[in-house]
């Protein structure tokens, strides 16, 4: 582990702007996004920052120079980053960009600090979901959404976006009571033509997802989700943010910061990807254009292999 850390540090040079990439752990989406980010910036060639990449345990505890930008990948890395920045003034002076976090997690953590921070949120804008539904499921006009504490903030924006496209939002809001999930889901499935899942750790917990997928399929109501994993598990479609999408957006922020234009305000995902579960779609009698065509029609960058 120390070897990996040293190897990454080999390119560090006092003359180069230093960018720290703080990971929640070594594997997974965070590490992938960090690697893709470095590849993108290096391929672009205009900037050649000195990277420091690792978990917080591997990054210097007491650096001498504050990095020009500190990017955290995942909510855990962001949380530790805030803790570090608060106790380490050198780090506290560095602008911090939270990547691979949901808006809900970011807003939950960020107010605790007076630090300069921004975010590239995982969440897709509600308009994009509405557009995807219109393009892919034009007959499914009554869109059911089960809101939880994290996702309820999207309610009015989503209702507007759907209404603008001739769709209707049917909603149920889940209070903190876990047992209320199924009654709320049942009444939504009674009325809705399609169920839209928005990121919410209480509603779409790993324990709940299988039951929600089964319940929706029993009623022949397609589920459109924010997660590619859900599409593999049984949702017909997902509009999701990949590590690659995150890397691209972070690269843009990085260029902005390193060229002296300051840290932009937090943004929702600029890009997204579409996943289609063809078997489930076929079984429900739904036919979609390919994920690439769908991505184009809702103005997403064409998915790359």
């Amino acid at each position: 582990m120390a070897g990996a850390c040293s190897a990454r540090l080999a390119s560090a040079d006092a003359a180069e702007p230093e960018v720290w990439l703080a990971l929640s752990d070594h594997g997974g989406a965070g590490a992938e996004a960090a690697r893709l980010l470095q590849d993108l910036v290096e391929r672009d060639g205009r900037l050649s920052p000195a990277w420091r990449v690792g978990t917080w345990a591997e990054l210097p505890a007491n650096p001498e120079v504050s990095p020009q930008l500190l990017v955290t990948f995942g909510a855990a890395a962001f949380r530790v980053g805030i803790e570090r920045a608060l106790v380490t003034p050198v780090l506290g002076r560095a602008p911090m960009l939270a990547a691979l976090v949901s808006q809900a997690s970011y807003l939950d953590l960020a107010p605790k600090s007076a630090l300069r921070s921004s975010a590239v949120w995982l969440d897709q804008p509600p308009e994009r979901y509405a557009e995807l539904l219109r393009q892919a499921l034009p007959e499914h006009r009554r869109v059911g959404v089960l809101f939880g504490p994290d996702s309820v903030v999207w309610r009015s924006a989503l209702a507007r976006a759907l209404a603008a496209r001739g769709q209707t939002l049917l909603e149920a809001t889940l209070a903190s009571d876990e047992r209320a999930l199924y009654p709320a889901l049942r009444s939504l499935l009674d009325e809705a033509d399609v169920l839209l899942a928005l990121p919410d750790k209480q509603v779409y917990s790993p324990a709940n997802v299988p039951n929600i997928l089964l319940a929706a399929y029993r009623r022949r109501v397609p589920l459109v989700s924010y997660s590619a994993a859900h599409a593999r598990a049984g949702a017909v479609l997902a509009l999701h943010t990949t590590p690659q999408d995150v890397a691209r957006q972070v690269a843009a922020v990085l260029r902005q910061v390193l060229t002296g234009r300051g840290l932009p305000p937090p943004r929702l995902a600029d890009e997204g990807s579409i996943a289609v579960n063809e078997q489930v779609a076929r079984s429900l009698g739904l036919t979609f254009p390919s994920s690439q065509v769908l991505a184009r029609t809702i103005h997403l960058r064409e998915a790359e292999p």
């Binding site: 582990m1 040293s6 420091r52 855990a76 949901s102 036919t287």
Partner: protein
């Protein structure tokens, strides 16, 4: 040096975060084995009636719902015997339909294999959807899947939790009630529903009906890969029978009771494989005895008891990326006992062992081939094979053409085989006459059916078209015929008056279609027609079982402002004969209108509906002289 701080940092491990779940793989829930075959790949035409349509139709029983399926003729010989038949008005009891409720066949054993009581005993409110497989289907379901399979899927117990109360009242003495309670969680959920249906039937007919139903369903999930469904139910039907002013068919009240138990266990063996074991048992009792007025001391009696048992093991799996298979084994036994119908103290019955296999092959995106066969060893009919081949060509992603041929059959009922109805004088014990006589050598009816069908789904126009052109040839048709010896030996009580026989063959050709159009979010229109022509090989039967040359139905579902929901059902058909008596029924039109208002309550929802059946006036449905009078009723439904 920069890495030196690592050892001492000691940052606490953060809790698992939602973002990691965002990317984390979760097991595939809707595996191929759990997915149903889409309509475009199905080996035949299928019409699905979903829950919304069931509710919006205002139907009080399933037979009425079949008006929404192209090709179906719906009417009862009396108001107490609602019946539906696909293409050919074959009989008054629905004996050539296969009705499945959650996979359990609901026909009656003791008489002719009637399905009409089974259809009545499912409350529409408990149904998730009805899949009607239009056309013969013995290759998948064996004997009795002769003219259509009515596959009723009731709601999963987890989807019908809480309380529901429904009350209906109106003219024709309509008095319906329903109560449902559902409880449990995703590991074990239960539903108990109880209901009554009552009305005074057709005008001029002695056919009052009082039906009581109690149905239970449990859905258990002991492990993520196991699903266990248990159902049970008990029903009691009291209905009027007989004709006013006909001493030979006196008016009286009949009683029918039945109960059933069913279990179905499904295990997901892999992403593609499933094993299913199902079993059910049912018993029924029918009481219908009345003095025969013309001869004092003689009773008319049609009472009987029946029982059925069925076991099946089914396995499905993918045999390759483009090949799926379903195969299995089954065994069933049926028994009936009735001194009145069979003139013997011991039960009559049969058993059947079966094996079936079905392959779905999708060599390219454009083609789906379905081939299957059902092989059975029947203790009365002997062995038989029912094969099927269907090719589906998806010439665009939205359009499919099917070509298919299959052979089906109906094994003869216990009455057709063993029937021996005799009338005795009491107390002298003298035989005074015989009516029906079955024939142990009677051959099963056979059907060869060929079809070309089309399925189009034009999403940009919000339009769907389902069309089927068919040619169905039946041989060895079984019917009751007058015994020629009876007249020759007039007065001899030992000569039966009527015989069950294989009387002939016919071919029915036709075209049916259904257009579905949803021009806006609040409007859904469905227009269907069936054009058919039936030709008997024996011209003497030319006017028996004649379908109307044309039958049409328009269903218009409209959401109106103020949470008002409107349904208009308009149907018309040409003249036809329902039964072998060659009784021509005049052409008819019927209009039904339903207006409903739904509202939310603090702890649930409510709906008040006003339904008028026969808005355009009284109509003759299934028998001359009997009229479906204009009937209006209110239904209040509360759900928590």
């Amino acid at each position: 040096m920069l890495c030196a701080g690592i050892a001492g940092t000691g940052v606490a491990q953060a809790d698992p975060e939602f973002e990691s779940e965002y990317f984390e793989a979760i097991p595939t829930v809707l595996t191929v084995s759990r997915l149903e075959q889409p309509l475009r790949d199905a080996p035949g035409a299928v019409t699905v009636i979903d829950r919304a349509m069931i509710r919006r139709s205002g139907a009080r029983d399933v037979a009425e719902l079949l008006r929404l399926v192209p090709g179906y003729l719906v009417a009862g010989a009396t108001g107490a015997t609602p019946n539906a038949a696909y293409h050919v008005p074959q009989d008054s009891y629905g004996i050539r339909n296969l009705v499945l409720v959650d996979g359990r066949s609901v026909y009656s054993s003791f008489f002719l294999g009637d399905t009409q009581r089974g259809l009545m005993a499912v409350m529409p409110e408990d149904i998730e959807r009805i899949e009607v497989l239009r056309g013969a289907n013995s290759a998948a379901y064996g004997a009795n899947a002769m003219f259509g399979v009515i596959n009723i899927v009731t709601r999963h117990a987890l989807d019908s939790q809480g309380l529901e109360l429904g009350l209906s009242a109106g003219s024709s003495d309509v008095r319906d009630s329903r109560f449902r309670i559902g409880w449990g969680d995703e590991v074990a959920s239960y539903r108990l529903s109880a209901g009554t249906r009552a009305d005074s039937g057709y005008v001029n007919a002695y056919d009052d009906r009082q039906l009581k139903m109690l149905n239970w369903r449990a859905d258990l999930k002991p492990q993520p890969d196991d699903d266990l469904m248990l159902t049970a139910g008990v029903h009691e039907l009291r209905s009027g029978r007989g004709e006013y002013g006909n001493p030979g068919e006196p008016t009286r009240t009949t009683e029918y009771e039945d109960w059933y138990l069913q279990g179905r266990w499904q295990r997901q063996l892999s992403a593609t494989g499933q094993l299913q074991l199902s079993a059910d048992v049912a018993q029924e009792r029918y009481a219908d005895a009345t003095p025969y007025a013309p001869i004092p001391g003689v009773m008319l009696d049609y009472g009987a008891r029946g029982q059925r048992m069925n076991l099946e093991l089914q396995r499905s799996d993918s045999l390759g990326s483009d090949l799926r298979a379903v195969w299995g084994l089954g065994w069933k036994q049926e028994q009936a006992s009735s001194q009145a119908l069979y003139h013997r103290p011991d039960p009559v019955g049969f058993h059947e062992a079966r094996a079936f296999g079905h392959l779905e092959w999708r060599p390219t995106e454009r083609w789906t081939a379905n081939a299957g066969a059902f092989v059975a060893q029947h203790s009365l009919s002997g062995s038989y094979v029912a094969p099927r081949l269907m090719l589906n060509h998806h010439f665009t992603p939205e359009q499919t053409v099917r070509f298919g041929v299959n052979r089906s059959l109906r094994s003869s009922s216990l009455l057709e085989t063993f029937g021996d109805v005799r009338y005795y004088h009491s107390p002298s014990g003298l035989l005074v006459g015989r009516s029906w006589l079955g024939d142990p050598a009677i051959r099963p009816e056979r059907l060869r059916s060929e079809e070309i069908s089309y399925l189009g789904d034009f999403r940009s126009w919000h339009l769907g078209l389902d069309l089927r052109a068919y040619r169905e040839s039946v041989s060895d048709w079984v019917s009751v015929v007058a015994n020629p010896l009876y007249l020759a030996h007039w007065g001899n009580p030992t000569i039966p008056r009527q015989l069950f026989e294989n009387v002939g063959a016919y071919t029915v050709r036709g075209l049916e279609y259904q257009l579905r159009w949803t021009p806006g979010p609040d409007t859904r229109l469905q227009w269907q027609q069936n054009f058919s022509q039936l030709d008997w090989t024996d011209v003497a039967r030319a006017s028996s079982n004649q379908p109307p040359a044309r039958a049409s139905t328009l269903a218009w579902f409209q959401s109106l402002p103020g949470r008002i929901d409107m349904t208009l059902l308009w149907s018309e058909r040409g003249q036809m004969t329902w039964s072998q008596e060659a009784q021509w029924l005049p052409s008819m039109r019927r209009v039904d209108l339903r207006l409903a208002h739904a509202w939310q309550m603090e702890r649930g929802k409510a709906e008040l509906a006003f339904m008028v059946q026969g808005l355009n006036g009284d109509v003759v449905e299934g028998q001359l002289g009997y009229l479906l009078g204009r009937r209006a009723f209110l239904t209040l439904r509360l759900e928590q």
